[in-house]
């Protein structure tokens, strides 16, 4: 039992754009829409996507983590928002508008939010950028051993920390984030041994979404690792599971996005129907060089076959297609 003091890292602690004078801040919504439009335009028109993506990811990290005081809490607020409709429309708008914008974004651009805007994804990208550099210098056996050790270690550390910081009163309700994270991470050692299971573990994302939805409907205050980044809320389970996200990013690139993220599951449902998507000119690919598949951070590519429910729209495959015939952004 212990408490953590939340660091105050936000540049602006008061609302930037007030909705009719109230404490409801419209700045995150406007930022989100602008970043979204910028990323779609970059995907569509830029010759080289990577520099634009890095720019937008940096901007979003700065805006959502260090600038805007309250950013996005969409995990459970939608249910409170629906409850407040008709009772207090101001509050209902405050709780619902980001969720509506995210769904709109998913319908237009698929999981652009994941690949370009989400700070959790950006932080995982940064970690895997460095770990991949180190891994290139090591032999496969060493990497395997280190990964299995680290994945088991991360589970142990998460359980241990949650036992120390577990609130005494409502263990289950307050630790949902940790429970789902640990349950998802428990599959990672098995993937190391049998890579066939990788595709099956991806289904856990939907279980995570379903489980959380049930718990939110009951009315329990659910958190997720993103709360730590978006809200600077040092909630016990959110912070500890965020540590788990960081640790697993070392093992598998964007492991949290692949196996656990409930938002990813929502995007997974909506993205195949999206207006914009990455598509190949000629399927199946005639060249089969496999370069795009090796670059994909979420493993959504298999011989130029794109799994739209997994794709985070980062554009690495489009950039790295050496023959410039395979990938394109389709409208």
């Amino acid at each position: 039992m212990g408490t953590i003091d939340a660091p105050r890292i936000k540049l602006f602690e008061l609302p930037l754009i007030k909705l009719s004078g109230a404490a409801i801040d419209l700045a995150p919504m406007i930022m989100l829409i602008l970043l979204f439009i910028a990323s779609i335009l970059a995907m569509y028109y830029a010759r080289k996507i990577k520099p634009w993506r890095i720019l937008i990811q940096t901007l979003s990290l700065g805006m959502f983590v260090f600038a805007a005081h309250q950013t996005m809490c969409v995990l459970r607020t939608w249910i409170f928002g629906f409850q407040a409709v008709g009772i207090n429309d101001t509050i209902a708008f405050a709780l619902l508008h980001i969720a509506v914008i995210l769904i709109f974004m998913a319908l237009v651009g698929g999981a652009v939010f994941c690949g370009w805007i989400c700070p959790v994804g950006t932080i995982q990208d940064i970690i895997s950028f460095f770990t991949l550099k180190i891994k290139k210098q090591l032999s496969t056996k060493v990497i395997m051993g280190a990964d299995v050790t680290l994945s088991i270690l991360s589970i142990v550390v998460l359980c241990w920390l949650s036992l120390i910081y577990a609130p005494a009163d409502f263990f289950f309700s307050e630790n949902v984030s940790i429970l789902f994270t640990v349950a998802g991470l428990a599959g990672i050692p098995f993937i190391m041994i049998a890579p066939v299971l990788e595709k099956k573990l991806r289904f856990f994302r939907y279980i995570s979404l379903f489980g959380r939805t049930i718990i939110i409907l009951i009315g329990i205050h659910v958190t997720n690792p993103g709360c730590t980044v978006f809200e600077t809320e040092i909630d016990y389970s959110a912070s500890i599971s965020f540590l788990g996200v960081l640790m697993t990013a070392v093992i598998i690139n964007r492991a949290y996005c692949r196996y656990i993220c409930p938002f990813g599951a929502v995007f997974g449902f909506l993205a195949p129907k999206a207006l914009f998507r990455i598509q190949s000119d000629s399927l199946p690919c005639r060249i089969n060089c496999g370069k795009c598949a090796s670059k994909c951070p979420v493993g959504a590519l298999d011989k130029a076959h794109i799994e739209y429910s997994q794709c985070v729209f980062c554009g690495r495959c489009v950039d790295d297609c050496t023959h410039k015939v395979v990938m394109s952004v389709e409208k």
Partner: protein, 551 residues
């Protein structure tokens, strides 16, 4: 560009199917949703502009409150001469008549939520020692309704009044009743039935008890529980929702509070938060203003050289300073998040300061003159309970300073209970944390501050203590200076399995004293009690044990 083949989303693929057919439908739904939202908002904003008098909105920073009041008065006289002049006249006459009639007995008890107009939550009463023992437990014998999740079991706090030498506890309940209990033994004296549950704390006027019920009415009762007057705030319709009322404040036979009426009728939706000032004796309305389209909390009252300024908070995150004379808004402050707590007024560093706790755990100190933020403090999690503030070096209502090593004459400590399971003690002068007291459950009720008399084991001077409850089912007592635990009591658990954040209002403890009479020499003795309407559905009363070794 050359390599990127673009095609319209309406184009057909090889099988002749439209590729993104559901998109049209979904976009249409989205457009409708957006339109609904924007329409309701624009409608709300426009009607708000029409209904609220501009009233020198967000007054220029450099003006003092006195100047504002003068300009406000002039503006009011110029615009609507008859009504405003009448309003000011009534208020002034009330204030001049009643300001000198304060009695000590009235002050010493707990007449309203947070004890006083400033809402500091501090009682001047003294406990003899910390060996508190349970005096009585009260539980409503018959349950008209059963508990369900999120029931507001008791009103935000109970009140204690003196009635012919007998101390009475008055508390509103979820079962639509006002209970009047004898503070010495916990027996029920009378009950009064209203139409709906009573969440707002009743107030004790000079001769009567006033409360707002969720049945959209204000009731005035006499001391024996008979109804004197009733005022309906909103007519009942099939679509009208329960009234959300704030705990009113009482001063000089006037009372002020806020209420939120909500009518979900689609063609005439009403979501209106009003602030009002009324006479508690006759229920004469002095002013009522439409503040926001959200529930209103408060007020706390600040005295600016005889002018009463009322500070309200609204659940959409605004702190308003309102001129007590005519109900005009002097300044507004927008906090970082929604607010669910009552504001507190206090003089800190010789500045009039309004203290609020916002929903995501920020404690804000706002300059009472200008409405600008002075400092902020961040607790670990959400804050729904009201703050309490007390000077740890000065006893209340005494100008005598108590002996202490440090040179400064006063040091105020702000108490903030948070969802991070801690009670935070914050230095009011510097916004630094003095201490943090950890419990095992979230803290939802507001602390009540009392004094502890000097004893041989204790320090040389009286110490301040705070009572607060936590959802780990304990009532705690901590020292204000050091934050160490002095006493705790295990209460019962919630009647339902778990609580949802923010759905119920849990009651706070209060401090009162009772007169005990000894038969032998018939000397009247006062005994200080702490009374706690608990979240387990019972009311507990504690008092100090008789100290045999008293010198």
């Amino acid at each position: 560009m050359k390599n990127r083949v673009l095609s319209s989303y309406l184009s057909k693929d090889k099988l002749g199917k439209r590729k993104c057919l559901p998109m049209n439908t979904l976009l249409l739904i989205y457009a409708m949703l957006t339109l609904t939202f924007s329409f309701s908002f624009s409608a709300g904003c426009i009607s708000e502009k029409n209904k609220i008098k501009p009233a020198i909105d967000l007054l220029l920073e450099n003006k003092t409150v006195e100047e504002v009041i003068v300009t406000n008065k002039k503006a009011a006289k110029d615009s609507t001469p008859n009504q405003s002049a009448k309003t000011i006249k009534i208020t002034e006459s009330y204030l001049s008549q009643k300001s000198e009639n304060k009695t000590d007995g009235f002050q010493s008890q707990w007449p309203m939520f947070r004890q006083n107009c400033q809402r500091t939550g501090e009682s001047p009463l003294t406990f003899r020692n910390m060996n508190l023992e349970l005096q009585w437990v009260f539980k409503p014998s018959e349950h008209t309704f059963s508990y369900r999740e999120g029931t507001n079991l008791w009103s935000e706090s109970a009140i204690a009044i003196d009635n012919n030498g007998r101390t009475e506890i008055i508390v509103g309940s979820y079962d639509h009743k006002i209970y009047c209990l004898n503070a010495s033994n916990g027996n029920r004296i009378w009950t009064f039935n209203s139409g709906d549950e009573i969440v707002a704390t009743p107030i004790a006027g000079d001769e009567n008890i006033v409360f707002l019920s969720s049945d959209r009415s204000i009731y005035g009762l006499n001391s024996s529980g008979k109804r004197q007057w009733i005022k309906q705030l909103q007519k009942w319709t099939h679509t009208s929702q329960p009234l959300v009322a704030s705990s009113p404040v009482v001063f000089d036979n006037l009372f002020s509070g806020g209420y939120y009426i909500n009518d979900t009728y689609f063609f005439d939706r009403r979501q209106e938060g009003y602030a009002f000032l009324r006479s508690s004796e006759t229920n004469e309305e002095i002013w009522t203003v439409l503040l926001r389209r959200s529930p209103i909390y408060g007020p706390a009252i600040g005295d600016f050289k005889g002018h009463k300024i009322l500070f309200f908070t609204t659940s959409d995150g605004i702190v308003c300073a309102i001129n007590g004379q005519n109900g005009q808004v002097i300044w507004k402050f927008t906090a970082d998040q929604q607010i669910r707590s009552t504001p507190v007024f206090s003089i800190i560093n010789d500045k009039p300061t309004v203290l609020i706790s916002a929903r995501w755990g920020m404690v804000w100190a706002i300059n009472g003159n200008t409405g600008k933020a002075l400092w902020s403090y961040r607790t670990g999690h959400m804050c729904d309970s009201s703050l309490a503030i007390a000077d740890i070096k000065t006893a209340p209502h005494q100008n005598k300073f108590l002996p202490d090593n440090s040179k400064s004459k006063s040091e105020k400590i702000i108490l903030s209970g948070s969802y991070d399971r801690c009670l935070h003690g914050i230095y009011a002068s510097s916004s630094k944390r003095a201490w943090k007291f950890e419990t095992k459950g979230v803290i939802l009720s507001s602390p009540a501050i009392a004094q502890l008399s000097p004893t041989a084991e204790q320090l040389n001077y009286s110490e301040k203590i705070a009572f607060f409850s936590s959802m780990d089912n304990y009532l705690y007592c901590v020292s204000l200076a050091s934050g160490r635990k002095l006493w705790s009591f295990k209460t019962g658990a919630l009647p339902w399995p778990f609580f949802k954040r923010g759905d119920a209002v849990f009651s706070s403890p209060l401090i009162c004293n009772i007169t005990t009479q000894k038969n032998k020499d018939s000397i009247q003795k006062k005994k200080t009690m702490v009374i706690f309407p608990c979240h387990d559905g019972k009311i507990y009363a504690f008092a100090s044990k008789h100290n045999k070794h008293k010198p």
